[in-house]
Amino acid sequence: MSTPILELDNLGKTFEADGHRVVALDGVSLTFNRGECHAIVGESGSGKTTIANLVLGLMPATSGSMRFNGVALPAERTKAHRRAIQLVQQNPLSALNPRRSVGASVRLPLDVHGIGVSRERGARVAGLLEEVGLEADYARRSPRGLSGGQRQRVAIARALACEPELIVLDEPTSALDVLVQARVLQLLQRLRQERGLTYLFITHDLAVVRAIATRVSVFQKGRLVETGPVESIFANPQSAYTRQLIGAIPVVTEEEAKIRNVIRAGTPTPLGTE
């Protein structure tokens, strides 16, 4: 069950600007298991975005190393690595080129990685769009006419086109309305189960984490504060910071308020939540 897909070993990143040194990530060791939805939670400055950038190979690490399927990830990624690790961004409005059709955006990875035969790729694009809940004729449309949720579905289809093993989801629903968010989360859940995907789910929203993640790692100021299965983090948060984060969630039901108040009070309790 728990085969590691990605391992971070003492991973660190320091930025230097105007003589100041900012430690964005401070020696983090963490394992992501295949098939899980592993949430990276934290506020601004926690280092969660830095992790995404390092995993995607968008910037080199200052120290430490990463292993993907047991093999060291080089700083300069091979095409195979680029294909295996994909990204879904936060802002669906900017993630699609307004001057290229939806179909062209989804087809790009197929052309880049030579997936399938050229003349079958149109059909493949149609299949991907249908898989994310859009009709095939969306391929001909411009992203301009699409809603935020529809655009995010297209971005997911584009990531799927690579047939990735790991998808970095960078706040994928935080720009969406709550009803749209719920449906996109459902879609992500279904895709993970059907395709056996692994998610690295970056978010600040612990309620979303509770709903979709299997495992949670809480970050604060570049450090890993706490990690564990989602149930145990919510039932018995170990660190004061995690309790603070959960305590700050605005909730909508009394049941939630009760749980939150217990956590706020700060006494670790064996409170069952299922």
């Binding site: 968010q181 509770r210 709903a211």
Partner: protein, 296 residues
């Protein structure tokens, strides 16, 4: 019951030329009584922000906007007397915006901006008096070193500090009504929770009425006494916070509540993956919308 400080009746707003208009508000009616905390909750594009802007007299008058109905604040109609509302808003109505850092002027120190705010309420105030009041106001929002904050620029303070400064400024002239448009949404969750708590305490203490504009039902539940749910330019449901969260009546409100992920577990909400039936605007009225003029 206390007198309403803000009454909006049958507010309609359309954009476009005289011949081809698109109506975005289809008759909004709501009211806020003195020292009451009311929330207007809806998703993006529902019309909640444009309603607030109209009420503040902030919507640019243009040949392409057509507003009708009435927004009465202190006996002044905001639709007709937009300029009058704007003149008075320094002392009687105040507003807090989503992103505090961009709402403050980056080229002036907090001190100058604070003086300007206080002066709009009391033109005769001296610099020394203004500074003294500003310091007291900043201390009240738990800013650790008010003197230093006054000598800072907005970009030198954190987002949370700026939000506190904004709250202090907004309440400095003891307004009767505070309008808060998605306050703190741009901030971290823990900071947002703190600023909301602070805003709640201060307005409670001073008896300031609040109209909170938000998309976040959790925030609304914690902050407001009464809630209006706005959907596609219509109020589809309103009631006390306890009623609305306990027994939501309109299918849209129910769907919204169901769609929010819960920290009590239970996985993802079981929503149809495609458009639910309330997206058909024809049935929206069958729900529990407050009919125009049904204000007590």
């Amino acid at each position: 019951m206390a007198e309403p400080v803000l009454t909006i009746r049958d507010l309609r707003l359309a954009f476009g030329s005289r011949r081809r208009q698109t109506e975005v508000l289809h008759g909004i009616s709501l009211h806020v009584r003195a020292s009451e905390k009311v929330a207007l909750v809806g998703e993006s594009g529902s019309g909640k922000s444009v309603t607030a802007r109209l009420a503040m007299g902030l919507l640019q008058e243009a040949p392409t906007t057509h507003a009708s109905g009435s927004i009465r604040f202190d006996g002044i109609d905001a639709i007709k007397g937009g300029r009058e509302i704007a003149r008075r808003r320094g002392n009687r109505v105040a507003m807090i915006f989503q992103d505090p850092t961009s709402a403050l002027n980056p080229t002036f120190k907090i001190r100058g901006q604070f003086r300007e705010v206080l002066r709009s309420g009391n033109p005769a105030i001296s610099d020394a008096d203004a500074d003294r009041q500003a310091e007291a106001a900043l201390a009240e929002v738990s800013i650790p070193d008010p003197k230093r904050a006054l000598d800072s620029y907005a970009f030198q303070l954190s987002g949370g500090m700026n939000q506190r400064v904004m709250i202090a400024m907004a309440l400095a002239n003891r307004p009767a009504l505070l309008m808060a448009d998605e306050p703190g949404t741009a901030l971290d969750v823990t900071v947002q929770a703190q600023t909301l708590k602070l805003m709640h305490e201060l307005t409670e203490k001073r008896g300031t009425a609040v109209l909170l504009i938000s998309h976040n039902l959790g925030v609304v539940r914690e902050f407001a006494d009464r809630v209006y749910v706005i959907y596609r330019g219509r109020i589809v449901e309103h009631g006390t916070t306890a009623q609305l969260f306990h027994e939501p009546r309109h299918p849209y409100t129910r769907a919204l509540l169901a769609a929010i992920p819960k920290i009590s577990g239970g996985g993802l909400p079981d929503l149809p993956e495609r458009s639910p039936d309330f997206e058909n605007p024809l049935i929206v009225h069958e729900g529990c919308g407050e009919p125009a003029g049904a204000i007590a």
